[in-house]
Amino acid sequence: MNLDFSEEQEMLRTTTRDFLTKECPKTLVRELEEDEKGYSPDLWKEMAELGWMGLVLPEEYDGMGMGFMDLIILLEEMGRNILPGPFFCTVILGSLPILEAGSEEQKKELLPKISAGELILTLALTEPSARYDATGVATRAVAQDDGFVINGTKLFVENAHIADYIICVTRTKEGASPEDGITLFLVDAKSPGIRCEVMPTMGADKLCEVVFADVKVPKKNMLGELDKGWPVVQRNMEQAAIAKCAEMIGGAQAALDMTLAYAKERVQYGRPIGSFQVIQHYCANMWISVETGKNILYQAAWKVGEGLPATKEVAVAKGYINEAYKFVSERGVQCHGAIGTTRDHDIGLYYRRAKAAELAFGDTDFQRELVAQQIGL
C-alpha cells in the first residue's frame, strides 16, 4: 500500500496550480461565462503545449504516456480554478473511447491532433429521456449505401457548438436487451443535417441540444463494433464519473479555502467570525467532507487506472462527492453571509458548478441504485 502521491505527481499539481492561477483568473472565468464560445483559444493552445490534452495518451500518438491518476490531479486543479472549456469533453469523453475502441487508423488520424490541441471532441449520449443507461438511447442509425444515416435528438451535449467531432451513441438494432444494439459513430460536427443550440444553464457549462436530421456518416467512422458499443460507453461513463469527482473535489477544496480565509478576517461582535464555535463546526464539517471525498476519490481512481473492476467504487465516490460538494459550497455561501449570494462573489461560482456536476454522469439516486446492486440487493 502507498497512499501518497509521487514527487513527480506533487510537482505536476504545483505546476498546474501555478499555471491556472496565473492564466485562468476568476475574471476570465466570468468573461467566458458570457462568451459565445465559452473557452479561450489562446489558453487552449498553451494547455496543449504543456501536453495536457495528450497527458494519458501513449507516446506513439504524441501523448505523454502518463497515468490516469496524473489526469485526476490535473482535473482536481481545473475544478479548483473552474477552468472553462472543452478539456473534459475532448480528453475524457473523446480521446478515451477512441483509445479504447478505435481502429488503428482512427487512432493515428485523431489522437495526435487531440494531443496537439487541434481538435475538440465531445460525446452525445443523453437524450430528452435524460438518462445515462442504454434504455435512454433512441437516436437511430440505419445502414444506407456504404455508410449510416443518423436521426434523433441529443441533449446536454457538452460543448457541441465548438466541437470538431461528436461521438454519437446510436441504436442500430432492437436487441434482446437495451444494451444490445448500440453503436458509436465519430460524426464530423460540420456534417449537413446537424443543428446545434447552446442551452442556457446555471452552471454556464455550454450544454447543447444537438439534432441529427438524416446525417450521413461513412462506415469507416464507426467507433468499435456494430451493435456492441454499450460496454465502451459504460466504461467511459465510469471514467467520466470519477474524473468529474476529481473536478468536484478541487472545487470543494477551493470553496473551503475561501470560506476559511473569510472566517479568519471577517469581524463581527468584535472578533473574527471564525472564533465562533458554530462557524468552527461548519468549517470542520466542510473539511471532513473534502478530506473524506478525496480518500474515496483516490481509491476509485486508482482502480479505474489499474483497469480493475471499479463499478462499486466509482458509484460510491460519485454518490458521496455529489453531496459533499453541494454541502461544502452551500455552507460556504452561508458563512460568507449576504455577499455570498451575489452574482459578483466567487463563492457562488462554486455553488452553481456543484449543482451542475452533481447531475453529470449520474446523480446521487442513480449512484445509490448502482451501489445497491453491488452490495447484493
Binding site: 500500500m1 502507498n2 497512499l3 501518497d4 502521491f5 491518476m69 476559511l260 472566517a263 479568519k264 472578533r271 473574527p272 471564525g274 472564533s275 465562533f276 464555535q277 462557524i279 468552527q280 463546526h281 468549517c283 470542520a284 464539517n285 473539511w287 471532513i288 478530506e291 473524506t292 471525498g293 480518500n295 474515496i296 483516490y298 481509491q299 486508482w302 482502480k303 467504487e313 460510491v316 454518490g319 458521496y320 439516486d365 449512484q367 445509490r368 441504485e369 451501489v371 445497491a372 453491488q374 452490495i375 447484493g376 440487493l377
Partner: protein
C-alpha cells in the same frame, strides 16, 4: 498510489479471519451476552495474547510483535468485522501501555508491561468526574503527600470495567493552587486498595459496563506515580503511537449492513421482498457509501502513522465520522426491521437476534465517549484549520 495489500498482508488477514471465524461464533456472542459481558472476555483476550496478536504493533523490546501499522490495521479491521470483544485489553494495549512505554521508569515497565501483553491484567481509566467531562482539566479528585504515599480522595465516573479491572490509571490534582493543567498527576492504582468502592451505572441497554468509583483515603505508594508530579496532564496528552485509525467501527458496521441486506432479501413485506423496495435499497446503499468512505479515512490515518506522522485531527475525523455513522445505521436498520426492530434477544420473533436493537442503543455512547463529536470538531477547527480560538471568559 497503490491501494493493494501485499501477498504477505493478505495471508495474515486470512489467518486472522480463519481464527476469528472459529472463535467468535454466534454461540460465543450469546454466551457473553448471558454473562452480561458483551464487550468483555478475559479468555478471548488471553487467546489473542497467545497468538502474539494482542500487542502486535508494540516494539519488540516491550514484549510487542513489532508489526507494521498496516498489519495492525488489518488485524483491527477483522476484529471489528467480527464484533469481537476488546474490553479485556483495550485500556491496557491502547492507552496505559503506550503511556508507560513513553513515561514509565524501567521498574514500572518491568512491573506492568508483561502482564498487559500477556492479557493477564485488566485496566480501567479514572479520568472523568461528575464535574469534569469534556472539560477534563477541571477535575477535582485530590492526591496529598503523606510520607511514602499519596492519599487520594474523590470520585470518578463513567469508569468502564472498573468492576472487572485489576488496576486503574487515574488523574488526580496534586497542586490545587497551580494553573489547572499544571497541578495534575498521573497515578497507577491497584483496584484492591482499601478505600476504593465501585458502584454500577447501568446503560440504556441495561448492561453493566460503566461505574462510579469512590476513593476514600486510598493510599498509593509514591513509586506509582507515572511521569513527574504535576505533569500528569501532559502524560495523558502523549501523542500515542497506538493505532488510531478507528477502522473497527466501519468494519463492524459493514457486518451489520451485510446482515441487513440478507434480511431484506429474505423478508417479504406486502407480498414482495424488502430488497425490491426502492426506499430500502436507497437507505442501505447510502449506508454502504458512508461505510466505504469511513474505511478509506481509517486507512489514511493508519497510513499516516505507518509513515511516522501523527494524525491528530485526521484521527478526530475518523472517530467523529464513524461514531456518527453507526448511529445512522442503527436508525436505518430499525426502520427496515419495522415493528420487529425493537424486539430483543429472547423473543423468537426478534430479527438478527436483536442485534440491531442493541446497536441502536449502544451507538449512542460513541459520539460522547473519548471526546464528544463537538470536541472532535473543536479539535479539527482550531488545530487542523487554525481558526482563532474562542475567547475564554
Amino acid at each position: 498510489m497503490d491501494f493493494s495489500f501485499t501477498e504477505e498482508e493478505e495471508r495474515f488477514r486470512a489467518e486472522v479471519r480463519a481464527f476469528l471465524d472459529q472463535e467468535v461464533t454466534e454461540e460465543f456472542h450469546q454466551e457473553l451476552e448471558e454473562r452480561g459481558e458483551t464487550e468483555f472476555s478475559r479468555e478471548f483476550t488471553k487467546k489473542l495474547a497467545q497468538k502474539g496478536w494482542l500487542a502486535m504493533a508494540w516494539p519488540k523490546e516491550y514484549g510487542g510483535g513489532g508489526a507494521t501499522m498496516m498489519e495492525q490495521l488489518i488485524f483491527s479491521e477483522e476484529i471489528g468485522y467480527h464484533h469481537a470483544p476488546t474490553g479485556g485489553h483495550r485500556q491496557g494495549i491502547n492507552l496505559i501501555g503506550p503511556c508507560l512505554i513513553v513515561h514509565g521508569t524501567e521498574e514500572q515497565k518491568r512491573e506492568y508491561l508483561p502482564a498487559i501483553t500477556a492479557g493477564e491484567v485488566v485496566w480501567c481509566q479514572g479520568f472523568s468526574e461528575p464535574n469534569a467531562g469534556s472539560d477534563l482539566a477541571s477535575l477535582q479528585c485530590r492526591a496529598v503527600e503523606d510520607g511514602d504515599y499519596y492519599v487520594i480522595d474523590g470520585q470518578k465516573t463513567w469508569t468502564t470495567n472498573a468492576h472487572r479491572a485489576d488496576w486503574c490509571h487515574l488523574l488526580a490534582r496534586t497542586d490545587p493552587d497551580a494553573p489547572r493543567h499544571r497541578g495534575i498527576s498521573y497515578f497507577l492504582i491497584d483496584m484492591k486498595s482499601p478505600g476504593i468502592s465501585v458502584r454500577p451505572l447501568i446503560n440504556m441497554l441495561a448492561s453493566h459496563d460503566f461505574n462510579e468509583v469512590f476513593l476514600d483515603g486510598v493510599r498509593v505508594p509514591k513509586e506509582n506515580i507515572l511521569g513527574e508530579k504535576n505533569r500528569g496532564w501532559y502524560v495523558s496528552q502523549t501523542t500515542l503511537s497506538f493505532e488510531r485509525s478507528g477502522i473497527a467501527i466501519p468494519a463492524g458496521a459493514k457486518r451489520n449492513l451485510e446482515l441487513l441486506v440478507e434480511y431484506a432479501k429474505e423478508t417479504k413485506r406486502n407480498g414482495a421482498p424488502l430488497a425490491q423496495d426502492p426506499i430500502v435499497r436507497h437507505k442501505l446503499a447510502e449506508m454502504a457509501v458512508d461505510i466505504e468512505v469511513n474505511r478509506m479515512i481509517a486507512y489514511r490515518v493508519a497510513w499516516m502513522q505507518h509513515q511516522g506522522l501523527i494524525p491528530v485531527y485526521e484521527a478526530s475525523m475518523s472517530k467523529l465520522f464513524g461514531t456518527e455513522l453507526i448511529k445512522r445505521l442503527g436508525d436505518i436498520g430499525m426502520q427496515i426491521l419495522g415493528l420487529f426492530g425493537p424486539l430483543e434477544r429472547g423473543s423468537r420473533w426478534a430479527p438478527l437476534r436483536g442485534r440491531i436493537a442493541r446497536a441502536c442503543q449502544f451507538s449512542l455512547g460513541g459520539t460522547i465517549a473519548m471526546g464528544s463529536s463537538e470536541i472532535m470538531k473543536n479539535i479539527i477547527a482550531t488545530r487542523g484549520l487554525e481558526l482563532p480560538r474562542e475567547p475564554r471568559p
